[in-house]
C-alpha cells in the first residue's frame, strides 16, 4: 500500500511494455536455438544485445517480427500476441522496423522509391505525401541529395542510413537492429551510429544487436548478454561492464575489451 502511494506521489510510472517475450523457445530441427527467453522492453528503452556468434542474438530479434517462428512461449508486441495469423503478423510488422547487417535495399529501385514503397502500399498513403515523408527522413539521415540514385551507387554507410530511413518511414514503435555496422568499414561505422544516437535521443524504443561496445556504454539502458541460446546476464551498462555477475560474462568481456 505504501509503495503504491510512494509510486503515485513522487515515483515514476513505469512506461508501458512494448515487447514482451515470455518463456520463448525456438528449435531449428533438433537444435535448441533459443532457451527460456524472458525479456521485457518498455517504451523508450534502448536494449543492446551482445554475445558470441551462434548465441541466438539475431534469432531472438528475428522472432520478434516473425522472420523466425518460435515454437514455445509467447511474444507480445504492442499488446498484440504474435501468432501464425497473417493479419496478426502484418499488424506486428508495421509497428516494428528492422535494419539488417546487409542493408537489403531493393537494388532495382531508386533510394526514393525504396522509401516510398511501403508507405504507399501498406499504409495506403497518397504518393505525394509519401514522397514528402521520404525526403524528410532522407534529410534527417543526411542523404537527401542522393534520392534518385540506385543503392549500387552508394557506399555501405550511405546504404545503411537509407535502410534506417526506409524503416522510419513506416513510423514504427520499435526499431530492431541486427548488427547494423558489422559490414561497414570503420569510417562509415561512425556515421551510422550517429544516426542511431539521434533516433535514441528522440525517444525511439530500440533493440540493437551489435559488437560496438562504445555504443552500448553510451546509449543503452540495458545490456543483454546471450550465450548458447540463453540470456546469461542483463544489467545496466555500468554494472554490466564494471561488475559482471556471471563468469561467462566476465570471460566474454575479457575477450572483447582487451584490444
Amino acid at each position: 500500500m505504501s509503495e503504491k502511494i510512494a509510486e503515485s506521489r513522487g515515483g515514476r510510472q513505469k512506461p508501458p511494455a512494448v515487447i514482451e517475450l515470455t518463456d520463448v523457445h525456438k528449435w531449428y530441427g533438433n537444435f535448441h536455438a533459443l532457451k527460456n527467453i524472458d525479456l521485457t522492453v518498455r517504451k523508450g528503452e534502448r536494449i543492446v544485445v551482445c554475445g558470441p556468434s551462434g548465441s541466438g542474438k539475431s534469432t531472438l530479434i528475428r522472432c520478434i517480427n516473425r522472420l523466425e517462428v518460435h515454437q514455445r512461449g509467447s511474444i507480445h508486441v504492442n499488446g498484440v500476441l504474435l501468432t501464425n495469423q497473417t493479419k496478426n503478423i502484418k499488424e506486428v510488422r508495421q509497428e516494428v522496423g528492422m535494419c539488417f547487417q546487409q542493408f537489403n535495399l531493393f537494388s532495382h529501385m531508386t533510394i526514393l522509391e525504396n522509401l516510398t514503397l511501403a508507405p504507399i502500399l501498406v499504409r495506403k498513403m497518397p504518393a505525394n505525401d509519401a514522397v514528402d515523408l521520404a525526403m524528410s527522413y532522407l534529410k534527417r539521415v543526411n542523404i537527401a541529395d542522393q534520392h534518385d540514385k540506385y543503392p549500387g551507387q552508394l557506399s555501405g554507410g550511405q546504404q545503411q542510413r537509407v535502410a534506417i530511413a526506409r524503416s522510419l518511414c513506416m513510423a514504427p514503435k520499435v526499431m530492431l537492429f541486427d548488427e547494423p555496422t558489422s559490414a561497414l568499414d570503420p569510417e562509415m561505422i561512425k556515421e551510422v551510429l550517429e544516426v542511431m544516437v539521434d533516433l535514441v535521443n528522440e525517444g525511439m524504443t530500440m533493440i540493437c544487436v551489435t559488437h560496438e561496445m562504445g555504443f552500448a556504454k553510451s546509449v543503452a539502458d540495458r545490456v543483454v548478454f546471450m550465450d548458447m541460446g540463453e540470456i546469461v546476464e542483463e544489467n545496466t551498462p555500468d554494472e554490466f561492464f564494471d561488475n559482471p555477475q556471471v563468469d561467462r560474462t566476465q570471460s566474454f568481456l575479457n575477450q572483447i575489451l582487451s584490444h
Binding site: N65, F100, F106, V122, G152, A163, M170
Partner: protein, 361 residues
C-alpha cells in the same frame, strides 16, 4: 602530431598506345610464322569463296523474269522470290484480303516499338499485347463484320509470326506463375507444377504437336472442334511455358533471401513483395536465357510442318516444288534463313538493350 599534409597525387592519363596500324596488323596477324601462315591461308580462303558467292548471289543473279530466264542464267533466281512473295508471306490467305494480315503486322510492329522504347508502363504494355493478340486473331479469322477465312488458308511468315508471338506472349506470364508455383509452400501446387514441368520437358516438341493434334479433341466438349492451328498453338504454349518456368526459377533462386526479409519486415504482403521486389530482380538476372528461349521458340515453330501446317519454312519448301518454279530450293531456303536470321537477331539485340538498362543501376 600529424603535421604533414596529405595532398593526393593528380590522376595521369595512361601511356599512349605504342602501336600504329602496321604494328597492329603485325601483332594480330603476323606475329610469328605459324600465325602468318594461318593468316595467308585465311586470306586465300576468303578470296577463293568470295568470288563465286558474289557472282551467285548478286552479279549473275536474275532479278526479274520467268522460270526460263532463271534456268538460263548462272546465278540466283531472285525473281522466283519476287513472284512468289505473297505465298511466302501470307500462305494461301485470300489475295484480296491481304490488308488484314498487313494491318496485323503493322500493329505488331507498333506494339513492339512501344514495348522496346518503354514509353508506356508495364500494365499498359500487358493490355496492349493482349489487345494485339485478340485483334490479330479477329483480322486473321474474320467474323464480327469481316469476311471469314478458314484456318487452313493461314500460312507462310504470317503463320510463323502468329504462332511465335502468341506463344511468347502467353508462355511468359504462365511460365512465371508456374515457376512461383514450383517454389510454393503449398505442397499440392508445388507437386503439380513439378509434374507439369518435368513431363513437358521430357517430350520433344514434335511429339507434343502430334499429341496436341490428336489428344486435344478428346478433352474438348462434344461437338466443339478446334482447327489444327489452335491445337498446335496450345501445344506450343504448353511447351514454352515449361521451359520459361525453369529459366525464371533459376532467376528466383539467385535472389538473396534478405530481399524477401526486408520486404516482410516492412509489412509488404506476399504477392506485393513477389511482384514488385523479387520478380523484377529475378527476371533482370535471367534476361539472356529468357530471350534465348524466345528465339528458340521462333525457330521451333517450323516443326508444325509435321502436322500439315505450312508455316514460313513449309511454304518455302512447297513453293520450290510448284510446277512453274521447279528447282529453286536454294533460293527459297536462303530467303527463309535470311528472314529468320533478321527476326532472331532483332530479338537478340532487343535482349541486349534490356540487359544494358539493368546494368546502368
Amino acid at each position: 602530431m600529424a603535421n604533414l599534409v596529405f595532398i593526393p597525387a593528380p590522376d595521369l592519363p595512361p601511356p599512349p598506345g605504342q602501336v600504329g596500324i602496321i604494328r597492329w596488323l603485325k601483332l594480330n596477324f603476323f606475329k610469328d610464322t605459324f600465325s602468318s601462315v594461318l593468316t595467308l591461308l585465311g586470306l586465300y580462303f576468303i578470296f577463293w569463296i568470295t568470288g563465286p558467292l558474289l557472282s551467285w548471289f548478286i552479279l549473275d543473279a536474275v532479278y526479274a523474269g520467268d522460270s526460263a530466264a532463271c534456268n538460263a542464267a548462272e546465278g540466283a533466281c531472285w525473281s522466283f522470290i519476287r513472284a512468289q512473295i505473297k505465298l511466302f508471306l501470307f500462305g494461301l490467305f485470300p489475295r484480296d484480303l491481304l490488308w488484314r494480315p498487313i494491318l496485323a503486322a503493322a500493329l505488331l510492329a507498333i506494339t513492339f516499338a512501344l514495348t522496346a522504347t518503354r514509353i508506356i508502363p508495364v500494365l499498359a504494355m500487358v493490355l496492349c499485347w493482349t489487345a494485339l493478340v485478340l485483334i490479330s486473331y479477329w483480322l486473321f479469322a474474320g467474323g464480327f463484320g469481316l469476311q471469314s477465312v478458314p484456318t487452313t488458308k493461314w500460312g507462310g511468315l504470317m503463320l510463323t509470326l502468329m504462332l511465335s508471338v502468341i506463344g511468347i506472349v502467353a508462355s511468359i506470364p504462365l511460365g512465371i506463375l508456374l515457376a512461383l508455383g514450383r517454389r510454393s509452400k503449398i505442397g499440392l501446387i508445388s507437386f503439380l507444377s513439378v509434374v507439369f514441368i518435368e513431363s513437358i520437358r521430357g517430350i520433344p516438341l514434335v511429339t507434343i504437336l502430334f499429341m496436341a493434334t490428336i489428344l486435344l479433341p478428346l478433352f474438348m466438349a462434344q461437338g466443339a472442334d478446334l482447327s489444327t492451328v489452335f491445337r498446335v498453338q496450345i501445344g506450343i504454349i504448353l511447351f514454352s511455358t515449361a521451359y520459361i518456368a525453369e529459366v525464371v526459377r533459376g532467376g528466383l533462386q539467385g535472389i538473396d533471401s534478405g530481399q524477401q526479409e526486408a520486404a516482410d519486415a516492412l509489412g509488404l504482403s506476399g504477392w506485393k513483395s513477389t511482384a514488385l521486389i523479387i520478380l523484377p530482380q529475378a527476371l533482370a538476372n535471367v534476361l539472356s536465357p529468357l530471350i534465348g528461349r524466345c528465339i528458340a521458340l521462333l525457330k521451333d515453330t517450323a516443326l508444325v510442318i509435321v502436322v500439315g501446317l505450312l508455316d514460313f519454312l513449309g511454304i518455302a519448301k512447297a513453293a520450290a516444288q510448284s510446277a512453274l518454279w521447279l528447282g529453286f530450293e536454294a533460293e527459297a531456303f536462303i530467303f527463309c534463313a535470311a528472314i529468320y536470321w533478321v527476326l532472331c537477331f532483332g530479338l537478340s539485340r532487343y535482349g541486349r538493350s534490356l540487359e544494358q538498362i539493368g546494368a546502368a543501376k
